[in-house]
């Protein structure tokens, strides 16, 4: 360890990635790639010096010393004093495999995926495509204080897309199923059919007329709301930088008392982490408790500089720097039934499914898109609508939540930040917003 090094850690990830792409019945690609990457971080007299290298498995003690010296040299160019909180150390057990897909033949996976894709091919459907990914990672974390952890994970799953076309109009249906512990491809044909059916149904759906109105979010989209609007704005690095509207607001009532929003990396959902990317133990964090902003998500650095919360929320892609990230983020269940939520809405729009979203945490404005929706008339589900999106201001929208259902459900997805994409899950029950800005191009 160099004289200028106060601390160092090494996160080494190696493994393999298998992908299959079946497009209109044609097996476009099906193969496995390999990776072996390490991130070496050195905390110097002031800030971080970091080095990313590949093929770290073959680096012996001498080469590791060379890498540490190079990272230390980078650290000497920094100017900000960085200090780290002492972490809790514990490694959770990785959930057991459903079926050990590592032993399943590639050809069998191709055949099972093709079955799912084939079931999406309904009349009026002009394109079907299914993709499968399976990622095995062996992670080893060591640091200068003698900490050493290692574990293995497997995340896998598939998505299926159907495109329906009629008289120049094209619509799509999309389903995605991913999990940790090896997602089975067996008996999944119904999911393909669901994607195909949705694409065809959307051909007859009308575009919604945009404006301010009452809306019901389904569990998937309400989960995206929790993630985009609240989760990102509570990330300790954004709070530290000063680019979140939630900075300095802990203890304040920032939403309806019906709202409790949690991030929990210990849950055996797609965003599960047995250990965070800085070797810290992971914990459940209640970001909002009954409308009151309670805690932020932290890494070791932001826990010390910002406070309010616990560490263990640092995550990284293989070969990338740890960032403060969400894992499994959700709105806790309330006590209203789905029928009660619809009845309370009376007239509005039910937004379902998600095509993703984005947030500007500094301005406190978010946007996300539903896959489809239904008009709600007199408290009942009406005709299907397409191209429904929602935007709003975080703080206004949290106050606008007037009813929370009792039917929490989680959905797997991926979250992008700082050029890195990590697996996450989001969830919620059905949620009623008294006023929201709905985007749409429909006319009266």
């Amino acid at each position: 360890m160099g004289d200028a090094t106060k601390y160092y850690d090494i996160r080494h990830v190696k493994g393999q990635n298998t992908t299959i792409d079946v497009d209109n019945g044609h097996v476009e690609s099906a193969g496995t790639s390999f990776f072996d990457l390490a991130v070496i971080r050195v905390l110097g007299p002031r800030g971080w010096g970091i080095l990313t290298v590949d093929n770290f498995s073959s680096a012996g003690k001498d080469q590791t010393g060379v890498y540490l010296a190079e990272a230390e040299a980078h650290a000497l160019a920094t100017e900000q004093d960085v200090a780290l909180a002492d972490p809790a150390r514990a490694l959770l057990k990785v959930p057991p495999w459903g079926e050990d897909i590592r032993n399943m033949d590639l050809l069998e996976k191709v055949q099972l995926l093709s079955e799912i894709e084939g079931r999406a091919r309904l009349p009026s459907v002009v394109n079907t495509r299914a993709t499968y990914t399976e990622r095995l990672e062996e992670v080893r974390f060591t640091d200068s204080s003698g900490t050493e952890f290692s574990y293995e994970t497997c995340r896998s799953g598939y998505s299926v897309l159907a495109v329906a076309s009629r008289e120049g109009m094209m619509q799509m249906g999309y389903e995605r199923c991913h999990s940790i512990g090896g997602h089975s491809l067996r008996h999944q044909g119904d999911v393909g059919e669901k994607a195909g059916t949705r694409a065809v149904q959307l051909l007859d759906a009308k575009p919604v007329k945009g404006g301010r109105m009452r809306v019901v979010l389904d569990p998937q989209l309400a989960g995206v709301f929790a993630h985009e609007a609240v989760g990102h704005a509570s990330e300790g690095d954004l709070i530290h930088e000063g680019s979140s509207v939630l900075a300095g607001r802990t203890g304040d009532v920032i939403g309806s008392p019906l709202v409790t929003i949690v991030d929990d990396p210990t849950l055996h959902e797609f965003g599960f982490e047995p250990l965070d990317a800085e070797g810290s133990a992971v914990f459940r964090t209640e970001i909002i408790r009954q409308g009151v902003l309670s805690a932020f998500l932290h890494n070791r650095e932001t826990l010390l500089s910002v406070g309010h919360g616990v560490g263990g929320h640092s995550r990284a892609m293989a070969g990338d720097l740890p960032l403060v990230r969400m894992s499994n983020t959700f709105i806790e269940s309330g006590d209203a039934t789905y029928e009660e939520v619809l009845a309370a809405c009376h007239d509005g729009v039910l937004l379902k499914g998600s095509r993703g979203g984005q947030v500007d945490t500094g301005r406190g404005v978010f946007q996300f898109n539903a896959e489809y929706g239904y008009l709600i008339k007199d408290g009942e589900q009406g005709p299907m609508v397409r191209n429904v999106s929602l935007s709003g201001e975080i703080l206004q929208t949290l106050h606008a939540i007037s009813l929370v259902g009792d039917d929490l459900a989680m959905h797997a997805g991926y979250c992008g930040k700082g050029g890195q994409t990590v697996p996450v899950s989001d969830g919620a029950p059905h949620v009623l917003l008294d006023e929201a800005v709905v985007g749409g191009i429909g006319m009266d």
Binding site: N24, S33, D36, T52, E79, V82, E241, Q367
Partner: protein, 442 residues
């Protein structure tokens, strides 16, 4: 005087003699074989809350192997070139389960191997230079009363190498300098970035722009919901086109039934003022190259000429399958797996005009452009740093505005192009004024 751009000899540090071994072994196994190797190093300095807290270096190598066995295509990749045997075996295993298709061979050594188009020898990744660039950006930002929240400067150099069993063997260096800065003034953020193959990039101007956007966007007023002419900056316009229009030009999407432009070849798909070409030979273009990611010679492809759709993009795989000709449009985002259809330097152009006449809503960026529906072109996005301009009066910040429209309709309704053409990633375009778009305000 600047040093000459092409002094690259003996500058590289990775031995590549094993590439020949991969090709020999692939041939022995009866497979057409292609090897794609990237090597590179970079240094990034990052600022957080007004000072530099992190400097990172990276070096890496990537190997991609693609094989073709009787029209079955398989690929694999690794970042440990010592594992090339494993990678070749995985590519062959992949080919064995792929569907066979018509295949007319990998290209031979036919592409012009001219001077590097996307490299500048003045770019040498060093922490001191990235620290200087970040410091200069912060100086620019200091001209306004804003706080710098985050930002970075990256200098990267790399080398791409492509060889195959048909005798093609190309090597090219590339460099890039990337700068970005985020600032905030109260609850009003501003973001600006710049990228270039060389150090000809003004860090002070980037810092100043990021700060001025945050400063000027404070205290926005609400505007009524309605139809407005909308001026989207090059950043915002490139997001719109990248999310919807460019995927619709991919030959694979066209033949697979995923492009709404599939039946529109030779007819009008955009305003007669709108032209879109891919120009792979643009000097100092970030995506410039003499050969594409599978060794096909590149050429200028006019995809949309004065509103008329004239080409779709093809790689060899898609061209052979559908009886078309490769447009030299194969790209790889990295060494992983196989090449795919993409673009090199998209250039959007059209006649200039008055962007600020009458009443217009302007936006610097879009929030949520990736949520647009690529099949239908429908999108609803929040505008970032929106302003309202009335009759040439000073721009008034707008608190919140959501644009709801359809990209395929929007490009048919263009009022004017600005004279502010700039490079956004691999796209060169000016601000574009779109007629009568629906804005949801209050």
């Amino acid at each position: 005087m600047a040093r000459p751009m092409y002094s690259w000899t003996k500058r590289w540090w990775v031995a590549l003699e094993w590439i020949e071994d991969v090709l020999i072994e692939g041939r022995r196994l009866g497979a057409e074989t292609e090897v794609y190797v990237t090597t590179g190093k970079s240094v990034t300095a990052e600022v957080r809350k007004g000072s530099i807290d992190r400097v990172s270096g990276a070096h890496g190598t990537g190997l991609g192997v693609r094989v073709i066995l009787e029209g079955r295509i398989g690929a694999s990749s690794t970042n440990d070139p010592h594992l090339w045997h494993r990678c070749l075996d995985a590519a062959i295993a992949a080919a064995n389960v792929a569907t066979s298709q018509p295949w007319e061979g990998l290209p031979g050594p036919g592409a012009k191997d001219g001077p590097p188009l996307s490299a500048d020898s003045r770019v040498v990744p060093e922490s001191s230079e990235t620290v200087r660039l970040v410091t200069e950006m912060m100086k620019g930002a200091a001209e306004y009363p804003v706080a710098v929240t985050s930002g970075s400067a990256t200098m990267a150099e790399g080398r791409t190498m492509l060889a195959n069993t048909s005798g093609a063997w190309y090597e090219v260096p590339h460099t890039v300098v990337s700068l970005s800065l985020e600032t905030i003034c109260g609850q009003s953020p501003g973001y600006e970035f710049g990228q270039s193959v060389g150090p000809d990039i003004d860090p002070v101007a980037i810092g100043k722009k990021a700060a001025s956007l945050a400063y000027r966007s404070q205290d926005g007023s609400e505007i009524p919901t309605g139809d407005y002419d909308v001026v989207l900056s090059p950043i915002a316009s490139s997001q719109l086109l990248g999310a919807v229009l460019l995927p619709a030009l991919s030959g694979r999407n066209v033949h697979a039934g995923r492009s709404p432009l599939a039946g529109s070849m030779g007819i009008s798909v955009a305003d007669p003022a709108f032209s879109l070409v891919d120009d792979p030979h643009l000097p100092r273009g970030l995506g410039s190259t003499w050969w594409d990611a599978e060794g096909t010679p590149t050429r200028r492809i006019p995809f949309i000429s004065e509103g008329i759709l004239t080409h779709f993009a093809y790689d060899r795989k898609t061209a052979f399958r559908y009886g078309a000709v490769s447009t030299g449009s194969a790209v790889r985002s990295g060494p992983g797996g196989a090449p795919a259809i993409g673009f090199h330097n998209i250039v959007v152009s059209g006649p200039g005009g008055d962007l600020q006449e009458g009443t217009v809503v302007c936006a610097h960026d879009l929030i949520g452009a990736h949520t647009a529906n690529p099949m239908s072109g429908d999108l609803s996005v929040e505008l970032a740093n929106p302003f309202l301009i009335r009759d040439g009066n000073p721009a008034q910040p707008v608190r919140k505005a959501m644009l709801s429209g359809n990209v395929f309709s929007m490009i048919r309704d263009i009022a004017a192009f600005g004279d502010d053409i700039r490079q956004i990633g691999g796209t060169y375009l000016p601000s574009i004024r779109f007629k009568r778009q629906h804005i949801v305000g209050i």
